[in-house]
Amino acid sequence: MSAHEDLNSQNDNNGEDMTIANAQPSHAAPKSLSEVSANRLKDRTPGNAPLGTGLEARNIHAWFSKHLAVQDISLDFAAGTVTALIGPSGCGKSTFIRTLNRMHEFIPGAAMAGEVLLNGKDIYERGTDVTKIRLQIGMVFQKPNPFPSMTIGENVLSGLKLAQLKVTNKDDLMEECLERAGLWNEVKDRLGAHAGGLSGGQQQRLCIARSLAVNPKVLLMDEPCSALDPGSTLRIEETIGELAKSMTIIIVTHNMQQAARVSDYTAFFLSDGGPGKLIEVGPTNEIFSTPRDQRTENYVSGRFG
């Protein structure tokens, strides 16, 4: 992490959140069934301190003009965990996740209510520098979208350039990010090549590496694998597993198996014609073995209606 020293000093809330994360999704009491996942969690929160307290969404509502797309969603994302958001198309998963790093507001007519707490501070507070928020809450999109006019290496560092941050040792940072994104070995000999020459899966990992370079606390992923083949998908899932050791990850996915594989917690959204609501959240093991809500059960087991 040495390469990040300068960056860290930018994030002004660095010292205050050294307490152990106590934010936990609701039914998080450890169960015998969830041992595997519990093990994972243990791996992932070594000292817990550098990860902060994660992210908390409180009573989030989101509108498109007059249309309420997401209603009253409260979710805590504990530091160092992977939370999957699942639900049928149009239930507001993307809308919700985009309120978490203030990308929602790019849509003309968009409005929201509620709070999103990053290390206890509302990111929607007046006077907040939104670009700094987005530096701390990275995002990976559905379609791999590296900047085609840049080389692979430049892409990794593009976040620094965009946010006009200085970093002492670019090469180290580049290697570290590519390493963490699981791409280093594949591209180390052609960092100067154009990013367009990579395969879809590699491009997506490059996008992940790009997000990592600004050292975010939280990484949002909106269907990051839906444009990829199964091989690349598994590769990305593996990367997610690795990343979760050092950050909080929230992933939207249509692929139930993917949610089952990669996440520690799963939240199920449903819209029922009206706005999207949170139906159930819990450890992934429980959601996929003994969901509490019948609608969750119907959804995860592929039953509808």
């Binding site: 089952a260 073995s289 995860v300 039953r303």
Partner: protein
Amino acid sequence: MPLIRSVFQDELDGVSQTLLDLTAMVCTAISEATTSVLNRDLTIAEKVIETDDRIDDMQHELDGRIITIIARQQPVATDLRALVTALRMSADLERMGDMAHHVAKITRMRHPETAIPTELIALIKNMGETALAIATKMGQVIATRNVDLALEVERDDDEMDQLHRQLISTLIAPQWSHGVESAIDLTLLGRYYERFADHAVSVSRRVHFLVTGNYS
């Protein structure tokens, strides 16, 4: 919107049906095994032994089918539990068939003698009937997933244990006059009925897991 997944549902239903078929075969087997041992009827005994082979085949086929369904449909939650439960139930049912087989084998071993002294005929008959009753009730539990009925099966099993104890005390009583060999036969016979009932209880308990997702 109608239920989608009709193929999968058909397959699940098929699995349940096979379990019920197996149950029916097991019921017939135990009832006939009892008859054979009480009546020294070798023909029926042979039939039971043969039935057990069919039960074994059916169980293998069912297990293969369940694995295929899991591989092809990749179920989760209740569906997955139902299949895994069926996999375990089939093993229990197969063991129940084995027990009937063992009973029938005692008939065959002692033929043309009888294995059962006259004073124990009533008791063994009672054990046989209880076993049948338990197996029948178990079938209903499988069909209805009724957790309360499953408790009744456990109560019936207590009755079986009671009969078993009664049998053993008869054997070790000083009045026992049929020799060690007969006592050994009857010990094993008793144990077969008792294990038969145990497996039925085990099947019923699995329904509890199926419904709630927890081991009770």
